[in-house]
């Protein structure tokens, strides 16, 4: 089949990557100066994004991953969470469910 003969759905996203919005919820009770670097890593462990976040502050972070990526790993000091990329928006907080 020739490419020019393809009939493509008008909603098809030609990108081979996907944009993700990460909402970080801070803990207002924390010392305002307490912070650490948040690493967003691919499922293979490659760092996608890094930034210094203060724990008492909310943040919105945008990053991009290949379309084939199914999850990311968020590392903030001793806190590590794996999050599936089910939609274009994910959330992170510092609370570890017991």
């Amino acid at each position: 089949m020739r490419t020019k003969d393809l009939k493509v759905n008008p909603t098809f996203d030609w990108k081979t990557s996907k944009d993700i919005t990460l909402n970080v919820t801070g803990l207002k009770e924390i010392n305002p100066e307490t912070g650490n670097t948040l690493y967003i890593k691919s499922s293979k462990g490659e760092t996608i994004y890094r930034d210094f976040l203060k724990m008492n502050t909310n943040y919105i972070i945008k990053f991009t991953v290949p379309s084939t990526e199914t999850g990311v790993i968020l590392v903030y000091g001793s806190i590590t969470k794996s999050i599936a990329l089910i939609s274009g928006t994910i959330t992170f907080n510092y609370i570890i469910e017991q």
Partner: protein, 477 residues
């Protein structure tokens, strides 16, 4: 409002230096969930949160049945705090019933360096006078240094429980929840930008703090067809550009500078094609300077290096015609491959902390994944080719829209796509091995059409998977 207790973290005075704010640490248990307080470095041993007969508000801490004389049976540890030699520790408590022999609450200070403690306070409940009576304590703490407050609850006999609530510790918070709740270390921040040295990519530079990369590894690839607005041969190699960005930002998350590496890999075209890009959310006046571009003959460039005529969106012209830099096409097998041509573009957004005239640009405003690259066909400035559904620049010749095979319809957000919704450019999130000259991409990448026709659900790895059945290597350069 009963649940509108005092704020958990009360700032009494202004800043006294790094970590030096005078604050109280409080706990009113009103979040109603232990993990929340554990995230704040409170610890509980046999103490739960209860909304049955709370001392105030909706929730209080409540011990299990106090039938063990060991003081370590039930306990609450506060986060590490830093006492400054004065102040009163305040809290409320009550004994819910008194069926046993004796019941006691004890308060200590715990030391971060060893297991020693400092006795502060002890109370033995009176029977029956103290049953269900809220008792308010105000315990002087005249110690200096980093400690945590320890409450022990113990006694013998019966099925009696103690509740605790409304804790105020007269000291600033000194735990690091991101470091297993250890006490805050001594912070070394040489450049004083608020980012500790060990987390600062530029510890001696107050104007820079972080490096970020897009894409995160390797380079991504842009592949263009240059016959727009007519269909071409779909070999997607008329202009092949690798790209990568390094973004330097400061402690306030503002962009300081951008290092953009562009690699001209192929120009399988007889036409003289140029290349540029736009940051859709960045005002040209926010850019202080642009260096590293190639020849820009035929373009009008502002003093800061952005293109004139795009008044609201910073636009960079990288080169005017690719063959000036790469005489060979790099698309025909058997013809010697010439070296890739690298352009190291540098964009300055802040100079010693001072942004461009239009103001600072945050990382989110730069929106690097939303950059808008385009090819300029054969030196005709208005004949831009963009990625599908990306907007033209102000200098695009919109009279070309909906001519030949183009079906751009701004009213529905459709740009640079054909009536069948085919594009003239692809953005591959990695290194792309492009097809040889005049080889349709659908013949070179055997699941490209499957990916397209499945609306992206099948074979999203059509371009990266080198396994059997994915490629016809004879048709790939």
């Amino acid at each position: 409002m009963k649940n509108m207790k005092k704020l958990t973290f009360i700032i009494l005075f202004g800043a006294l230096g790094f970590y030096g704010k005078t604050q109280n640490v409080t706990n009113d248990f009103e979040q109603g969930t232990r993990p929340y307080y554990q995230a704040l470095c409170w610890q509980f041993g046999g103490v739960s949160l209860s909304n049955v007969s709370p001392i105030s508000g909706i929730w209080s801490g409540r011990t299990g049945s106090l039938s063990n004389p060991s003081p370590n049976s039930f306990w609450v540890y506060s986060p590490w705090v830093k006492f400054s030699g004065s102040g009163n520790l305040e809290f409320n408590h009550k004994l819910l019933s008194f069926g046993g022999t004796w019941k006691r609450i004890r308060v200590l200070l715990g030391n971060p360096n060893d297991t020693t403690t400092i006795f502060l306070f002890q109370y033995d409940y009176q029977k029956p006078a103290d049953v269900n009576r809220v008792i308010s304590e105000s315990v002087p703490v005249n110690h200096t240094g980093v400690y945590r407050v320890i409450w022990n609850f113990y006694g013998t006999g019966g099925n009696d429980r103690i509740m605790i609530d409304d804790i105020t510790i007269p000291a600033p918070y000194w735990s690091d929840p991101s470091n297993n709740c250890q006490p805050l270390p001594a912070i070394l921040d040489t450049d004083g930008d608020g980012v500790p040295d060990d987390q600062d990519a530029y510890p001696y530079d107050p104007y820079r703090a972080f490096n970020n990369y897009y894409p995160s590894s390797d380079t991504a690839t842009l592949a263009f067809e240059d016959n727009w607005p007519a269909y071409g041969d779909y070999d997607m190699n008329d202009l092949v550009m690798g790209y990568k960005f390094k973004i330097v930002s400061n402690a306030q998350h503002n962009v300081v500078e951008v290092f953009n590496t562009l690699i001209l890999r192929a120009n399988g075209a007889s036409m003289e094609n140029g290349f540029g890009y736009q940051f859709p959310d960045v005002n040209p006046g926010s850019v202080i300077s642009v260096t590293g571009t190639g020849d820009q003959t035929g373009y009008i460039i502002n003093a800061n290096g952005t293109e004139t005529g795009n008044s609201s969106k910073a636009t960079i012209i990288v080169f005017d015609r690719s063959h000036r830099y790469m005489p060979q096409w790099n698309t025909i097998k058997g013809v010697p491959t010439v070296d890739y041509v690298r352009f190291n573009i540098y964009l300055q957004f802040m100079n010693n902390g001072v942004p461009g005239p239009a103001g600072a640009v945050s990382i989110n405003t730069l929106n690097i994944s939303g950059w808008n690259p385009f090819m300029v066909v054969n030196g005709q400035r208005g004949r831009e080719v963009h990625l599908p559904d990306y907007l033209p620049t102000d200098l695009a010749d919109q009279s070309l829209f909906r001519t030949s095979d183009d079906d751009t319809q701004p009213g529905i957000g459709k740009y640079y796509k054909s009536p069948n919704n085919l594009p003239w450019a692809l953005d591959i999130f990695g290194k792309f091995d492009y097809p040889i000259e005049k080889q349709d991409i659908s013949g070179a990448y055997l699941h490209f059409a499957d990916w397209v026709l499945s609306n992206g659900t099948s074979y999203p790895d059509w371009w990266s998977n080198t396994g059997t059945g994915y490629r016809d290597n004879a048709k790939i350069y």
